[in-house]
């Protein structure tokens, strides 16, 4: 219990109590000892004095005893009893009769027997208790010429001396008490001074805990080194610093301690007058060490904050990069739980990233797919070999192609291996790649077709020539004539096919000049108008408000338009509407759209309509080369050709005669770059 009470006391109270206890502990036994020793000394002194007085009296009474001078004996007894601390004196003869005494009103007879002087030698001393008063009784022999003549008795009050000792002890106690009070007062002042500094240190420590590291607890020095040494070194770090002492600073320029560390300085500065003046005590050392600590802490914290800031900005940067990338990035730990995902992947899964982290694929994918993914991850984790593949992944009703890369990565926490999966969507790339393959195939086919047509053209000419020659030899109406006509007809078909093949193979050829789209369109329309009318197909041409000049070979352009018109007529069949619209869609681009109300194109064929030899027409009705040739020409002129089926809703707006049974229809649009500058008058006029 006692230590707890002590522990609860303030440091100041402890110091004060400690000083008081120490002083009390020293003073009380000292006073006790001193008073005892004084009492003892005094008692010895009293005894010695009493003995001397008694002996003296014994020697003085001899003459009077010899002379039987009782008056003088009485006088002597009275004289000595008149001394302050002497209670009584009396003289007895050898027979034990009291010759004279200082008593009046009878003699206390009990006194006679309590003490007896020896025959010779020092007086006998007895302590008497006379009703509470303590008296030393001295009995000194009266010896004359070796003969015992009697004795003198002397009573010396011990009580009076005891009172003196008590007064002395009380005075000592009083002085000690006053000294104690003074010391306690001084101790309190001292404790206050010490605890004030400790409390200041504590307050500063609390400030530090609160985060205020810029405070200084150090005492303000009245004179620091630059004032004491008068060095004039203005660029010294100690110059002007009245809070820290120079030997605690690194890099000071004082010639006596330049280049020394603070530790070495403390050793070598012991004899320096600056040190001797300002060395202070342990609390000051502590305070300064505390300041250094808080300053160092502040610096470290600021460094840490900077580092944290850099780290955070880098993390943000990385996060931005990761989130900005369209690739799906996911990091999984060794247990195949998600550690981190980027925004793209979260969007892909349709969940916020926080809902993904810490979970497994089984919660996001169908069981089969999840098992497959986890098998792959496990394989990568086990072997350490990266996995790279292309895979079609279906999600939210849409299938996409992805380039999947799975690799091992060091785990961010404990360094155990993790798995990084990156899915890059390549659906479009894959399409382009297929288109490229297609284009290469077409090119090869064109070359092959051109070669074959060229080789076939000559024998076909021979066959046709001979067939026509034979017709002249065969009379009309005969079977032979009919057969020859059939040969001629079929040979002519073959020649058309060969001619188309040749056109296909010669796509890059032809002379280009500036022509107006309108002219080529009107020429083509004029060629098919009659045929459209026969099939009750309403052909509507909308040339638009602008002149649309392009750089092209007008013949080839016309061929393209005729191909579109023929295709439209074939798609419509009997009764329908074909609209031709030319528009300037950009300052440097123009479009021409052929829309029909025909049967349209099946979705699976939409991408193949420009392939050579792709046709939905019956055998003999089309070569499958028309749209391929048109596609090649438009591309050759730097344009684009697209198809839409069914035809866009607004394609026939406000146009009548869509036929009896209008189909979904289709729309072919050619976009051509416009030619800057004026028209080539000659070319255009000649063609028209």
């Amino acid at each position: 219990m006692r230590p707890r009470i002590l522990a609860r006391l303030s440091f100041r109270a402890k110091i004060t109590l400690g000083i008081a206890a120490l002083l009390l502990g020293c003073a009380a036994p000292s006073i006790w000892l001193a008073s005892n020793m004084a009492a003892l000394e005094l008692m010895d002194e009293i005894k010695a004095r009493g003995a001397v007085l008694a002996e003296n009296l014994a020697s003085r009474v001899t003459d009077s005893m010899l002379a039987d001078d009782l008056l003088r004996l009485k006088n002597m007894a009275d004289e000595i009893a008149a001394v302050d601390d002497i209670n009584y004196a009396f003289i007895m003869d050898a027979e034990g009769r009291v010759l004279a005494s200082s008593f009046t009103g009878g003699f206390p007879v009990e006194l006679i027997g309590v003490n007896a002087a020896p025959q010779k030698g020092p007086p006998s001393v007895r302590l008497l208790n006379a009703s509470g008063e303590f008296i030393y009784d001295f009995a000194a022999p009266v010896v004359i010429a070796g003969t015992h003549f009697g004795q003198v008795r002397l009573g010396l009050s011990r009580s009076r001396h005891q009172a003196r000792i008590d007064r002395l002890t009380a005075a000592m106690a009083g002085v000690a008490g006053a000294a104690l009070l003074l010391a306690v007062g001084a101790g309190m002042l001292f404790a206050r001074r010490v605890t004030r500094r400790i409390n200041a240190l504590r307050e500063h420590a609390e400030e530090v805990v609160k985060g205020n590291l810029d405070i200084r607890a150090g005492t303000h020095l009245r004179k620091n080194c630059w004032e004491i040494m008068q060095c004039g070194l203005l660029n010294c770090p100690a110059h002007g610093d009245a809070e820290r002492r120079c030997w605690r600073l690194a890099g000071t320029l004082c010639p006596d301690c330049k280049g020394k560390s603070p530790r070495d300085k403390t050793l070598s500065c012991v004899n320096c007058k600056v040190y001797q003046r300002n060395k202070g005590d342990e609390i000051q050392d502590l305070t300064e060490t505390f300041d250094v600590m808080s300053a160092a802490l502040s610096a470290r914290l600021s460094e840490l904050r900077d580092a944290q800031g850099t780290l955070a900005s880098q993390e943000r940067l990385l996060r931005v990069i990761l989130d900005a990338t369209p690739d799906h990035v996911a990091l999984l730990d060794a247990n195949l739980r998600y550690l981190a995902v980027n925004k793209a992947y979260a969007l892909f899964l349709g969940l916020p990233p926080s809902a993904i982290v810490g979970r497994k694929d089984g919660e996001f994918y169908p069981p089969g797919e999840a098992a497959e993914r986890e098998r792959e991850f496990a394989g990568v984790l086990e072997t350490g070999r990266p996995l790279s593949k292309e895979a079609a992944i279906r999600r939210a009703g849409r299938e996409g192609w992805y380039h999947v890369q799975v690799g091992q990565a060091p785990g961010p926490r404990d360094g155990s291996p993790a798995v990084l999966r990156t899915d890059r969507e390549i659906t479009q790339i894959k399409e382009f790649r297929e288109q490229l393959i297609q284009a290469q195939k077409m090119e090869a086919l064109g070359k092959l077709a051109g070669g074959v047509a060229h080789e076939i053209n000559t024998p076909l000419g021979v066959i046709l020539g001979y067939a026509q020659l034979l017709q002249e030899d065969v009379p009309e109406g005969g079977q032979m004539r009919e057969d020859l006509l059939a040969i001629e007809k079929q040979t002519l078909i073959c020649r058309d096919i060969v001619a188309d093949l040749l056109k296909f193979s010669r796509q890059g050829e032809g002379r280009r000049r500036r022509v107006l789209l309108d002219g080529a369109l009107r020429e083509a329309i004029g060629l098919v108008e009659r045929s459209f009318a026969l099939h009750r197909i309403n052909l509507v041409y909308d040339p638009g408000p602008d002149d649309l000049p392009v750089m092209a070979d007008p013949e080839r352009l016309k061929q393209v338009w005729i191909n579109f018109l023929n295709n439209a007529r074939d798609a419509v069949g009997e009764s329908g509407l074909v609209s031709v619209t030319a528009r300037k869609i950009a300052p440097d681009k123009a479009s021409v759209t052929f829309a029909d109300t025909g049967s349209g194109i099946l979705p699976e064929y939409v991408e193949k309509v420009f392939d050579p030899f792709f046709t939905t027409k019956p055998v003999g009705k089309g070569t499958g080369l028309g749209l391929a040739v048109s596609y090649g020409i438009i591309k050759d002129y730097g344009g684009e050709l697209t198809v839409q089926s069914p035809a866009p809703a607004g394609a026939f707006a406000g146009k009548e005669g869509q036929g009896d049974k209008p189909g979904p229809g289709s729309a072919f649009t050619a976009i051509l770059p416009l030619s800057p500058g004026g028209l080539d008058e000659a070319g255009t006029q000649k063609d028209f």
Binding site: L40, D63, L66, D69, R97, G106, E110, A130, I144, A145
Partner: protein, 312 residues
């Protein structure tokens, strides 16, 4: 027990052990001071009284004459006790009143006793072996101014005591014989008492404080090993006068006087027991005396103009 506590206890034990006298105090004896009685009056003392002229302190007188008194008491067959008058005058008066039976005094006091009817019956033999003694006048040997007694005129004289026979009166008689009176001296002083007065006179002359000194014969020997006696010159010696005297009070039984005298005269320095008694009393022996033996002293007194009243 922890070390600090142990140390504290050890310190306390040390302090307690070091404190002297802290043990139990001496046991006081209870005394009832209120029980009082008047002391019984002393019974009157019996026997002969013997007194030695109080030339010294009583204790000295007692010491010197104790053995002699004891011897006489035994020899006479009756108790004899020594009494101690405080002054010469009281001595004389006590003899006159009959309180002193046997008086031992110097010759001048005897003259007074004789006036009161006391009679001499014995006198002592001085340590010198003679029943008489002289006075001596001393000066410094190197004092050129004093070559004879007459040269003492106007000088400063220190004597032993105004009542001293050998130390003053005998010398004064000598000066009278040489025509010098008291007033002829520059100053007359007496040695300060008590005790050692003879020696003090010698030392006063020796140190030059006084020019002339008067002492009893034999006194110089007392200082033989303490000062250089060669520096003292005995200027003159007085004639010899009879020595100290025993006198019986008037009215004392002559038979008693006879017995005492006989016992006194029987003492011999040659017997060891007697020698102790005699040496203790500083005498060599005792011889019979008569009143007439002191006529020379009476003459001197007459010469000096001393009456029994003026002799101290």
């Amino acid at each position: 027990m922890t070390a600090p506590r142990f140390a504290l206890l050890a310190l306390l034990a040390f302090v307690l052990a070091a404190a002297p006298g802290c043990g139990p105090d001496e046991e006081p004896i209870p005394v009832d001071m209120s029980r009082r009685e008047e002391p019984a009056p002393a019974a009157p003392k019996r026997g002969l009284t013997y007194a030695y002229l109080p030339q010294y302190a009583h204790a000295v007188s007692y010491q010197r004459h104790r053995l002699l008194v004891e011897y006489l008491s035994k020899a006479v067959g009756m108790p004899i006790r020594q009494v101690f008058p405080d002054t010469f005058d009281e001595h004389v008066k006590m003899v006159a009143r009959g309180e002193i039976d046997i008086s031992f005094s110097n010759p001048f006091v005897y003259l007074r006793l004789a006036e009161h009817g006391a009679r001499a019956f014995a006198r002592i033999v001085e340590p010198s072996g003679k029943p008489a003694f002289r006075g001596q006048i001393i000066v410094r040997r190197d004092d050129p101014a004093i070559r004879s007694v007459a040269d003492c005129r106007g000088k400063r004289w220190m004597a032993v005591d105004p009542s001293s026979a050998g130390g003053y009166l005998f010398a004064l008689g000598e000066f009278y014989d040489h025509g010098l009176r008291e007033e002829d001296f520059g100053a007359i002083g007496f040695a300060p008492g008590p005790g050692g007065k003879q020696e003090k006179v010698v030392l006063a002359v020796y140190s030059g404080t006084w020019d002339v000194g008067s002492i009893r014969e034999g006194a110089l020997a007392l200082l033989a090993d303490r000062i250089d006696l060669d520096r003292i010159r005995i200027l003159a010696e007085t004639r010899a006068y009879p020595s100290w005297v025993y006198a019986a009070r008037p009215g004392l039984d002559p038979e008693v006087v006879r017995k005492v005298s006989q016992a006194m005269f029987a003492l011999s320095v040659n017997r060891p027991d007697d020698a102790v008694i005699l040496q203790s009393a500083n005498i060599r022996g005792l011889i019979p005396a008569t009143d007439a033996d002191y006529d020379s002293v009476r003459e001197l007194a007459k010469k000096l103009g001393l009456t029994p009243e003026t002799i101290q």
